[in-house]
Structures are given as structure tokens and as C-alpha cells.
């Protein structure tokens, strides 16, 4: 675990000092702000609806930012030739995956914290509970963690960052669209598909300030599964 933290710290420092990290954060904040202004404040709504609208917008930028932050994690190590350094150090592949994941999650948490001025505005000028804000952010972080794990798998599979992004997007889009497939399907398949969709049914309760344990477990299980898959990809590469 300590070596995973070591990797996470180095990775975080590299991301913070890179133009890419700053661009992702600035871009996401800009989009969040514009979305909040146009869809949250431009018409008369209840405070709770404005907050829901905010979390809906943030969930979209979080998924995109998660993929962008994750694409470089392992693919860049391969491009630089530094993967050999990690592979030949006395640590397990799961330490590498965990360290990389934690660094991107910390970046995403930083981005999330920087959006807090918007719910604060609603809180000060309207009527929303702190619980709604907290649960909404828990949902955003769980969704972000799952997206990063998905992007990390893409990064573990790809040789370049661009390919990592493409693979991550190819994995994410079907998971999002499962919701549409669920609407077009008959029972009981529709319920299964809706449960598996990464955003719609699973994220909506968080948006509304309702903490449902099974939804949270879905995101945690998905994240754990994807991290395990990334670890297995790294292990399998040693046989090549």
C-alpha cells in the first residue's frame, strides 16, 4: 500500500505540473459554470431542482474528465519507457494500478471541490439541505471513480494515450447507453439493463439527494472489477 501511495504521489505531482492536468480542470470548471448558468439559473426553478440540474451537468463533465485524466496513467509510462521501472521494482501490479487510480481520483476530487461554489450559491440564496449537497457529491465521486477505473483499463490495454482514450470511450458509451436499451427492452431484461447502466437509473437518486446503498455498491463493485481487470492486463503482459 505504501508503494501504491508513492506511485500516486509522483503521478499526482506530474499531473498537477502538466499542462494537460490544468487544461482538464479549467475546461471542466468552465463547462460546469456555463451549464449551471444556462440550465440552473436561467429560468425559475425550485432550489432543489437547480441543485439537481447542477449535479446532472457535473456528472457529464466528471465522466469526460475521468476518462481524460485516466488515459495517460499507464499508456504514458509505456510511451516514456518508464513502465519497465515499475515492472522491475519490488512491487505488485495491483500496487501500480491502485497508485495510478488514487492519483487520478485525487485530481477528480480536487476538480469536484472547485465546483463547490455553485451549490454554495444555491445554499445561501435558496433552500436546500446540506444532506442533498453531500449525497450529490458522493454520487459524483462514485461515478468519477468508476469512470477513472474504466479509463485506466483502456490505458492498460493501449500503447498510446489517444488509443487509451478511444478504448475508454468505447467502454463508457455502451455503459451509458444501456439505459436507452433498457427502455426499448421487455421485462425482466429491461430491469437488468437499467441496473447496469453507469449513469441514468444509478445516478439519479444521488442527484435527488437520496442515498441508496445498492446504487453506491454498484459503483464500488464496478470500480473494483475494472481495477482488477487492469491488474490482470498488466500481469498478462509479462507473459508476452
Amino acid at each position: 500500500m505504501s508503494r501504491a501511495l508513492l506511485i500516486a504521489r509522483r503521478e499526482l505531482a506530474a499531473t498537477l505540473s502538466s499542462r494537460l492536468g490544468a487544461t482538464i480542470i479549467a475546461g471542466a470548471l468552465l463547462v460546469d459554470g456555463l451549464y449551471f448558468y444556462w440550465f440552473g439559473l436561467s429560468e425559475r426553478k425550485l432550489s432543489a431542482e437547480v441543485l439537481q440540474s447542477f449535479f446532472y451537468g457535473v456528472s457529464g463533465t466528471t465522466m469526460i474528465a475521468g476518462l481524460l485524466l485516466a488515459m495517460r496513467l499507464i499508456a504514458e509510462e509505456r510511451q516514456l519507457g518508464t513502465m519497465t521501472l515499475l515492472n522491475t521494482a519490488p512491487l505488485r501490479d495491483r500496487d501500480i494500478v491502485l497508485g495510478k487510480f488514487l492519483s487520478a481520483l485525487t485530481m477528480l476530487a480536487l476538480l469536484t471541490v472547485l465546483t463547490a461554489y455553485m451549490p454554495a450559491l444555491i445554499f445561501v440564496n435558496g433552500k436546500v439541505s446540506v444532506g442533498h449537497i453531500v449525497v450529490g457529491y458522493v454520487g459524483v465521486l462514485l461515478l468519477g471513480a468508476a469512470t477513472i477505473a474504466l479509463g485506466l483499463l483502456g490505458s492498460a490495454l493501449a500503447r498510446s494515450q489517444v488509443m487509451a482514450l478511444v478504448i475508454g470511450a468505447l467502454l463508457l458509451v455502451p455503459l451509458v447507453l444501456l439505459w436507452g436499451l433498457a427502455r426499448a427492452s421487455d421485462p425482466p431484461l429491461n430491469a437488468v439493463l437499467a441496473r447496469l447502466a453507469i449513469h441514468h437509473d444509478n445516478f439519479r437518486p444521488f442527484m435527488q439527494g437520496i442515498l441508496e446503498l445498492d446504487r453506491a455498491l454498484y459503483y464500488l463493485a464496478l470500480t473494483a472489477f475494472l481495477l482488477l481487470a487492469s491488474t490482470k492486463v498488466l500481469e498478462a503482459r509479462r507473459w508476452r
Binding site: A14, L80, T82, T84, N87, T88
Partner: protein, 351 residues
């Protein structure tokens, strides 16, 4: 006890305890590595003693990098065993990794870090205690001549200095074995000389295994050579041993001032088979070519000095090493072994 259960217990016991340590630091036995159906390495067996500087010599694609990657636990073998200081690379990779410092053909550097931060990171990653990190970094920098560059960002360093940082990261945790893949590739002549000195400076504290396709680098730096061809060792030994075995002896070029009669002076040396005049490279200096059954350079030097002959130069034949290399790597290939039977290649499955 049930036989299968007994076998499982024995295997677990083997995994948890290091193999009986012998004098050899590295023991490679019947190593094979296949990429698909393509054999990259094998059959390869070798032993390397502690404190040696050993060179892996071979043309591109001979299997040098694959062998070094297996040794460094970056890659798993298809079959065979590789034991480093009593620990098997498949059974106890973490134990092996802690004992090895590896410099791949491209130094694994993070360009945005300073040399100090990078070496500190690598040392911590390889298990150096937090209290000893600063000392380990300074020590590695001193050994590689990087003291003045410690606070420079890696992306600002020249190729030569980056290569030094690559070596520094390989020795920062004071490993028993340092593995260097093509350490002088791309360096200019001055940097090559400095790198040779640096590698020689590792002698004693570390066992060094380095690869190259450049013969002069290997012969200048290493105690012993392994010549690889098509993934297998086709010859091994010291430079003199290879010369004696493959060329039937050694050729030494001698330059003396004046017209001393070398054939007569050296007639008493039993090892010398022939002495021939080789012209006058500069006014008053005569060159001779001495053929001998073995390395007679020291004896020649002693004899000539004893006879009062003004010795200007003495070196082994310039083209001799190249002739050895050429002969080894251009010889017709032996029949390529096929992939070992599943029972033989059970190493990966067992792990």
C-alpha cells in the same frame, strides 16, 4: 499423506524459502522464451559469479534484451529456471527485484522531475528506508558523477547525463546485481570513455551484467563474455580464452624502437609460434606481429624489457576480436529447437 497433497506442500515450502545459496549469483538453466511460435531465447544455461563484470554480446535480435528482461523480472520465461542469489525469478520475483538494478536500452526517466527527486522516488520504490533516502541518492550521484546535476530537471540534461541518471537509478538501492542493456548506445566517444570508467567503478560493490552489439565496449569493460546467437550462447569465456579456442591462439602487435631481432629474442618462448615483421609505422620504429598459442602479452613485455629493447607499443591484434565475433555469429545456425513439450514448459503453469 496423500501424494498430491505432499507435492503441493513441498511446492509451497519451496516457494516460501530461498533455494540453497551457492557461490554463483546467477544460475540460468535451460531457459527458453517464445513470442508466439517464435523462439527469442533458448536453450540458454549459464552461471555468473559474484563480483564479475560479464558481457552479453550478440547482433540485434540475438536475444540479449529478452534475457536481461527475464532476469530483471520484467518478462516471464516460457520454460527453464533463472535463479538470482538463491531466489527464482518466477517463484519469488519481489525478492529478485529487490536485488537487481536494471537499466533498459532507453533509460526509464520522468522528464519533469529533478534528478534528486527522481532518484529519491526510485530508491523509495525499491525499498530504501526513509531515513537513508538522502544518503542513497547522494551516494548514487557521486558514483555516477551527477552531484552537480542533482537539482537539474531531467528534460534539460544531455543524452550522456540521462544515461548516467539511468545507471544511478539502477544502483541507488545498492543491489547485488546491476543489469545494463546497451549502456553506451548513442554516446559520443568522450561519453563512451566516461561510461566505461563508470561501469568499471561498479566492480566490487556489484556484479554487473551488460549487453552490447559493440565488441570493443564488451572487451574493454568485461571480465568474461557470453556470445549469443539466435537466443543461445555459442561461446563464453575471457577474451583470451575465446581467442585461443577459436583462432588457435592470439596475435600481438609489438612496436619497438631500433632494429632489434625479435624472432631471435623470442625464440625461447614456447608459446610463441611465429614472429613477423610488419613494417615501420614511423621513422626508427619497427612493428612486429607475434603469433602465440595463448595470451603472452605480459611475458613478451617482460622479455623485451629484460633484453633492453626500447618498447614503444604492445597490443593485441586490432582485427582479432572482430574476427572472433564474426566467426561466431556468422557460423551456420544449428537446428532451431522447437517449443518444449507441455510437461517441460510447466514452469509458467506451476506459477
Amino acid at each position: 499423506m496423500d501424494r498430491s497433497l505432499a507435492g503441493l506442500t513441498q511446492r509451497r515450502a519451496r516457494r516460501s524459502e530461498p533455494v540453497q545459496r551457492e557461490n554463483a549469483l546467477i544460475e540460468i538453466t535451460e531457459l527458453y522464451k517464445f513470442y508466439g511460435e517464435q523462439r527469442a531465447v533458448g536453450p540458454l544455461s549459464a552461471k555468473i559469479e559474484r563480483g564479475e563484470i560479464v558481457g552479453l554480446l550478440g547482433l540485434n535480435g540475438a536475444g540479449k534484451t529478452t534475457t536481461l528482461r527475464i532476469l530483471s523480472c520484467d518478462l516471464l520465461p516460457s520454460s527453464g529456471t533463472v535463479v538470482v542469489d538463491g531466489d527464482d525469478v518466477v517463484e519469488r520475483p519481489d525478492a529478485v527485484r529487490a536485488k537487481i538494478g536494471y537499466l533498459p536500452d532507453t533509460p526509464p526517466l520522468y522528464p519533469e522531475m529533478t534528478v534528486r527527486a527522481y532518484l529519491r522516488f526510485v530508491a523509495a520504490l525499491r525499498g530504501v528506508a526513509p531515513a537513508q533516502l538522502a544518503a542513497a541518492v547522494v551516494d548514487a550521484a557521486r558514483q555516477t558523477g551527477l552531484e552537480a546535476k542533482l537539482d537539474d530537471t531531467i528534460e534539460t540534461l544531455s543524452h550522456g547525463y540521462r544515461q548516467r541518471v539511468g545507471i544511478a537509478q539502477a544502483i541507488v538501492h545498492r543491489p547485488a546485481l546491476v543489469v545494463l542493456d546497451e549502456p553506451i548506445a548513442g554516446l559520443d566517444p568522450v561519453q563512451i570513455m566516461e561510461m566505461r570508467e563508470l561501469i568499471r567503478g561498479l566492480r566490487g560493490a556489484h556484479t554487473v551484467l551488460l549487453s552490447s552489439h559493440i565488441l570493443s565496449e564488451i572487451s574493454e569493460t568485461c571480465d568474461r563474455l557470453f556470445v549469443l546467437k539466435d537466443g543461445a550462447i555459442v561461446a563464453q569465456g575471457t577474451e583470451a580464452e575465446l581467442s585461443a579456442a577459436l583462432l588457435g591462439g592470439m596475435r600481438v602487435e609489438v612496436q619497438v624502437r631500433g632494429d632489434a631481432d625479435l624472432p631471435r629474442l623470442l625464440a625461447e618462448l614456447a608459446e610463441v609460434t611465429e614472429v613477423r615483421a610488419a613494417g615501420t609505422p614511423e621513422p626508427g620504429v619497427h612493428a612486429w606481429t607475434v603469433h602465440a598459442r595463448q595470451d603472452v602479452r605480459e611475458r613478451l613485455c617482460q622479455e623485451l624489457v629484460r633484453a633492453g629493447v626500447p618498447l614503444v607499443g604492445l597490443s593485441r591484434g586490432e582485427r582479432e576480436l572482430e574476427a572472433i565475433f564474426e566467426r561466431l555469429v556468422t557460423a551456420p545456425a544449428a537446428t532451431a529447437p522447437t517449443r518444449p513439450e507441455p510437461g517441460v514448459a510447466a514452469l509458467g503453469e506451476a506459477s
